[in-house]
Symmetry: C2
Subunit: 241 residues, 2 copies
DNA sequence: GAGCGGATTTTGATGACTCAAAATAAGAAT
DNA sequence: ATTCTTATTTTGAGTCATCAAAATCCGCTC
């Protein structure tokens, strides 16, 4: 079995490759993992020996298919756990990321199946991040964000790309949570600002950087079906979704 | 923070001291922890440095108050997790022990409180083991077992002292689960056997060793109040209690 | 094309946990 | 009392993941 360290390296490599396709530089990996560069090099060599990554010295590192599958497995556990914590245990979605960081390494397959079933085989976690399937598949992700989508068109927040509790608390307060219907009223390049109007009332102006953290989907698009585990959500203290 | 290794040593020391009051011998500890004796000695020295145990070379080891509190904390997490897995996730009580062995080390205090609340502040886990309080208290435990209790008197199974899945599956099948009402019909010292009659019908003959693994309480005694989290149990797939 | 600078790799060490096997102590047996 | 037995402790070594700092490489500037 992969150690939890290895699981973390693979997970972060996957997320980085998802964000920036191509090879991941050592310095970048070291930063992500909060280790010194030498440590990253050493670990990557070990991962390469285990055939979990392709490693070209001084060029960078890239997941192999095996490494990617393992990473997706970890991500599946992470995201299902997050959803469980929010919907069943009633934790705040701004704090479940930290908890899941630990739990993702100690959930057995059997338990994971139970969680999946209890939640009704959900497709996305509380942040809108897609939950990989047991088979290792992932939903394609819409690349549109509040920065790139057309002005004046009703869209739905699909995913929030920042897991920082501070940021998520702001998201919560402003109502820009996954599932919320909004439209971009205006963008001001000079002011570096994006003004967003919420369908259910209210508006919020964001910096371009902040707006770019919200992925959106055309209103009425697929895959925003009944939130998984809705029946349970009624009684359990499920604050947000 | 105590490493998971340390948490495990402390937990096992606590359980051993509960079973056999007094100092724990090194060889015994080594066996319990599945390490060679030298490893146990080394770890115990480290624990002594951290003031978690009292250690007298060649005499044995004993938890300090601090060590005991830490052990109880781990045990609290372990047992609440077990109950959560059975009542909310619908896992079989014969298998939750293994799962909880891992989970007990990664549950935050906040999450633990949520679990406790969701389950309705239960006093015992699915095996009947008492759940230590957040303050570090534990229920006194009845010392009566199917071997020692009076013949022909109705008692209730309070606790099953063996966590082996195989054994627990037998317990399940025979109906001698915590909460079951039974009476000991006869004991045969020669045959080394104990015959138990279940109130709800059926009977079962056990070896003395097996019978000794069932702690019992006089029928109608305190502390067998409404199983914690009963409301939830109705809808969730809570098989056993 | 010689040199510079930043990223990367190497090297040497450390801490936590473990094993194997040799050394030791303490109690039991003769 | 001397020896034997057996549990315990010590010693030496290995693995995993890490850091600090020295060595190396590559592309870029002048």
């Amino acid at each position: 079995m992969a150690s939890r360290t290895i699981e973390n390296y693979l997970k972060q490599l996957y997320l980085e490759q998802e964000a920036v396709p191509g090879e991941v530089a050592m310095g970048r990996l070291a930063t992500i993992m909060s280790v010194v560069p030498g440590t990253a090099t050493a670990m990557v060599k070990a991962l390469a020996d285990a055939r979990l990554v392709h490693y070209s010295p001084r060029a960078g590192v890239r997941l192999t298919e095996a490494g990617k599958q393992l990473a997706l497995h970890v991500l599946r556990r992470h995201r299902l756990v997050e959803l469980l914590l929010v919907k069943v245990l009633g934790l705040d979605w701004s704090e479940v990321h930290e908890e899941a960081e630990e739990l993702e390494h100690v959930i057995s397959d059997k338990l994971l199946d139970r969680i999946d079933a209890l939640l009704g085989y959900p497709e996305v976690d509380p942040h809108g991040d897609p939950i990989p399937t047991a088979g290792g598949g992932v939903q394609a992700v819409s690349a549109e964000t509040l920065v790139s989508c057309p002005l004046g068109i009703r869209v739905r927040i699909a995913r929030v790309l920042d897991q920082e509790p501070r940021f998520l608390q702001f998201v919560e307060a402003s109502g820009l949570v996954p599932g919320a219907r909004v439209e971009v009223a205006e963008r001001d390049a000079q002011a570096d600002a994006v003004r967003v109007v919420l369908a259910r009332g209210g508006e919020q102006t964001l910096s371009t950087a902040a707006a770019g953290k919200f992925q959106v989907r055309a209103e009425g698009a697929e895959s925003m079906e009944a939130p998984a585990g809705a029946s349970l959500a009624e009684e359990a203290p499920a604050h947000h979704f």
